[in-house]
């Protein structure tokens, strides 16, 4: 987590967060990923309790409250470290954000994940958009409006069901990924397996985001 050389006494830093010679706090390196920051391996199924315990422990290490009596330089480092730690915990705490972050680490920028409708739902969603438009322009209390509303409610339930299925499937992929990582083999077969998992996860995540936004749009319209 720490840089190789202490900013204060220029001696080599071997400790994790503090210089062993002058006991000054060291800034979290920009290259440190969130998994490393929180001291976890790059896995997709993490125990929330352990994650929280580690977050609390590191908060006690870095929080600016405990640096009030230290030098301004140390205060600045503590502030920066605490901000990184908070972002790291927020990202890893949520399984979906955690997976998106890992995909970003493994394959490049997360922002590349475009949201796209599931291929088999394409027709259905187009139709749903039309119904939504119709409903928006209709009289809510009219017979037509109420009929459309019933259709939309059924759609919403269906899509929520679908979202849950996708999340369950993602969970299976997460476990597969972790098992592959745990084996730690570097054969061409495991490399192909790795690429397949990454692609499947990416597709599912992008479909899930799409469905999530449709569902919240639906819920807001008929609320």
């Amino acid at each position: 987590m720490a840089r190789s050389m202490c900013w204060h006494c220029q001696s080599a830093v071997t400790g994790e967060y503090f210089c062993e010679r002058c006991v000054k706090v060291q800034p979290v390196s920009k290259e440190t990923d969130y998994f490393t920051c929180l001291g976890f391996p790059r896995r997709l199924t993490l125990d929330p309790k352990q994650l929280e315990a580690k977050f609390y422990e590191l908060s006690r290490t870095f929080h600016p409250d405990f640096y009030q009596t230290k030098t301004p330089a140390e205060q600045t480092i503590s502030l920066g470290n605490a901000a990184v730690l908070n972002t790291a915990y927020r990202t890893l705490r949520d399984p979906i954000q955690r997976a998106e972050y890992l995909l970003g680490l493994e394959t490049g920028s997360v922002k590349d994940i475009r949201t796209s409708p599931p291929a088999d739902l394409f027709e259905e969603i187009l139709e749903l958009q039309d119904t939504l438009e119709e409903y928006r322009s209709s009289e809510r209390d009219s017979q037509e409006g109420q009929k459309l509303r019933t259709v939309l409610e059924t759609e919403q339930r269906g899509l929520e069901q679908r979202k849950q299925e996708m999340e369950a499937q993602l969970q299976r992929l997460f476990t597969e990924w972790d098992q592959l990582q745990d084996r730690g083999e570097a054969t061409s077969q495991t490399r192909a397996e790795r690429d397949r998992l990454l692609k499947q996860m990416r597709d599912l995540l992008s479909n899930r985001t799409y469905v999530t936004s449709i569902v919240s749009d639906l819920a807001a319209t008929i609320a």
Partner: protein, 606 residues
């Protein structure tokens, strides 16, 4: 390490607290009162603060400022629809409200600074040491401008504000320390002018805020206003007189409304009695708790939506809440307790005094910062999303609401035109899509080297620190050089203005000290005049005529000196009088001793 105090700077009352032997205590005044009314009055002898200023509310309403917290970090347009309720005159300069008091205008931070100074003075007298560092509490839902304004107030009062902390979380610290509370708690904080709800997880000394919500313009003040409107309407109908035209009577009505409201938390009925202007008699009526509650219901209902939002943001339902804690004077209302109990399905409690618990928590946080308490740590959140304006007047969110602070976000900026030398950045806070619906925090111009379009790469870091206050820094990614940013706050004082106000406050501090010394000297002179006159009347016959005349002359000289505006001659004349009456006092003492000994045996005297 110098002592750090904790201050609850409230809408209606303020308190100051400190840690003693691992426990927080609130500083009382000579009469044992812990609350200082957040009221500042301009009198002929200068500015006065607290209880004595409160007496001026009805005497000189246009020169007595109360509820100034409602104006912190705001422009005049923000409070337009409640201006009629305030008897003092408000204007605006540079996006900041100014309050007219006599010849001068003061910003809300300056008025708040006077309250802070009074608290500081009180603590200094009590502890016998000078105070220069403080933790000050703010409503959790305060935005960046309101927090900055509070910090400015501290600076103007000569305090180094080491931390701004949220009132409900401060309360949770006090509970955590004194009651060893664990689990998930909801802190419902309904005060004089603001409402907050915070959901926290307390585990092994870590106080993690999961979500917070609120309304910085909703409090007991609003209930008082409903009663004021009711009474004024009835007075108009009954006596055909418009109280609105009489600012001093308006204040009488407001204070009576507040008194009756408080009374109805204990009693089922109360009598309202208000003296009317122009000597036309009194307005009296009975008010029942039920009547108050039917008026108050809509206001109390407005606190429930933020509670539901906070639960939702925390990803919890009311079933997950282990404990509900009440903070703030307005939670004394039985109806508030009922509604809170209904919402959370639990009996809320306030084992610690709801008026003092925030100040106590601030003292605990102060102790954490000074290294005294090491087992407790507060992890708070930012109440509002932070973003910047993008194309088409849309806000692009950078740090979402309820993100644990400190929090940071980086954004890369470049140019669209060849040779462009600056990028304008507009920072916003709020939950809405469009820029116009959110709160503008500040604007600044990013300096960019003149290069072909798209080549410059400036990384801007938005960092919300542990106070919930935004800091902006920028780095040129090509050169690695950082640039200083001159942020112009939309609703705040500029650094130069704050500096000027600090300077002014030192300048006026001399005047203030003089005013205080004068008041004290006059009080002491009055006491001396009274006792000497009494002695002279009782024992004047025991001393010579010339001597008695000397005392009389010294008495009249002190009486004259007392009317002056300089405390020094008063003290000098007091010394003269004491000297002149010295023998009188000795003679009197002997005489009374003699009298008390008469008829007693020597053995009894021994």
């Amino acid at each position: 390490m110098t002592r750090i105090v904790g201050i609850d700077l409230g809408t209606t009352n303020s308190l100051i607290a400190f840690m003693k032997d691992g426990r927080p205590c609130v500083v009382p005044d000579r009469n044992g009162r812990t609350m200082v009314p957040s009221v500042v009055a301009l009198t002929d002898n200068g500015l006065i603060v607290g209880d004595s200023a409160k007496e001026h509310l009805t005497r000189s309403p246009e020169r007595t400022v109360y509820s100034v917290k409602r104006f912190m970090g705001k422009g005049l347009a923000d409070v337009q629809n409640e201006l009629t309720y305030f008897p003092y005159h408000l204007t605006e300069t540079g996006g900041v409200i100014r309050i007219r008091l006599g010849e001068k205008s003061y910003s809300p931070p300056q008025i708040s600074a006077m309250v802070l100074k009074e608290l500081k003075r009180r603590a200094e007298a009590y502890l016998g040491e000078s105070i220069s560092k403080a933790v000050i509490t703010v409503p959790a839902y305060f935005n960046d401008s309101q927090r900055q304004a509070t910090k400015d107030a501290g600076l103007i009062a000569g305090l180094e504000v080491l931390r701004i902390i949220n009132e409900p979380t401060a309360a949770s610290l006090a509970y955590g320390l004194q009651e060893k509370t664990q689990g998930t708690i909801a802190v419902y904080d309904f005060g004089g002018g603001t409402f907050d709800i915070s959901i926290l997880k307390l585990k092994n000394g870590i106080f993690e805020v999961l979500a917070t919500n609120g309304d910085t313009h909703l409090g007991g003040d609003d209930l008082d206003r409903l009663l004021v409107d009711l009474f004024i309407g009835e007075i108009r109908a009954r006596n055909d007189i418009d109280i609105n035209r009489y600012p001093d009577h308006m204040q009488t009505v407001r204070l009576e409304a507040e008194r009756v409201k408080i009374r109805l938390s204990e009693e089922l009925t109360a009598t309202v009695s208000i003296e009317l202007p122009e000597g036309i008699g009194r307005f009296t009526r009975e008010l029942t708790r039920a009547q108050l509650e039917s008026l108050a219901m809509p206001v109390i209902e407005r606190t429930l939506a933020p509670c539901r939002m906070a639960l939702k943001d925390a990803g919890l339902t009311s079933k997950d809440i282990d404990e509900v804690v009440l903070v703030g004077g307005s939670t004394r209302m039985p109806l508030v307790r009922q509604r809170v109990e209904m919402l959370f399905g639990k009996v809320p409690h306030c084992h610690l005094n709801p008026d003092e618990v925030v100040a106590l928590g601030a003292a605990v946080q102060a102790d954490i910062l000074s290294g005294g308490t090491t087992d407790m740590l507060l992890l708070d959140v930012t109440p509002l999303s932070l973003g910047i304006e993008t194309m088409g007047g849309v806000m692009s969110s950078l740090i979402r609401r309820n993100t644990t602070i400190p929090a940071s976000a980086k954004e890369l900026f470049t140019t669209y035109v060849d040779g462009q030398t600056g990028v304008d950045i507009h920072i916003l806070q709020g939950e809405r899509e469009l820029v116009k619906d959110n709160r503008s925090l500040a604007r600044f111009r990013l300096k960019v080297p003149p290069l072909p379009a798209g080549v410059p790469r400036i990384e801007v870091t938005f960092l919300i620190d542990a106070n919930g206050i935004l800091n902006v820094t920028a780095t040129d990614m090509r050169t690695g050089q950082s640039q200083s940013i001159d942020v112009k706050p939309s609703y705040g004082l500029s650094d130069a203005e704050v500096e000027q106000m600090i300077e002014d406050s030192f300048k006026f501090a001399a005047d203030d000290v003089n005013a205080r010394k004068l008041i004290e000297a006059r009080l002491d002179a009055d006491a001396l005049l009274k006792t000497t006159e009494k002695s002279l009347a009782e024992a004047g016959h025991l001393i010579g005529v010339d001597e008695a005349e000397g005392i009389r002359s010294a008495l009249s000289q002190l009486a004259t000196a007392k009317d002056g505006t300089n405390p020094r001659p008063i003290r000098a004349q007091m010394a003269e009088l004491e000297q002149a009456a010295k023998r009188l006092n000795v003679v009197m003492l002997d005489d009374s001793l003699k009298k008390s000994l008469q008829g007693k045996k020597v053995s009894e005297v021994r």
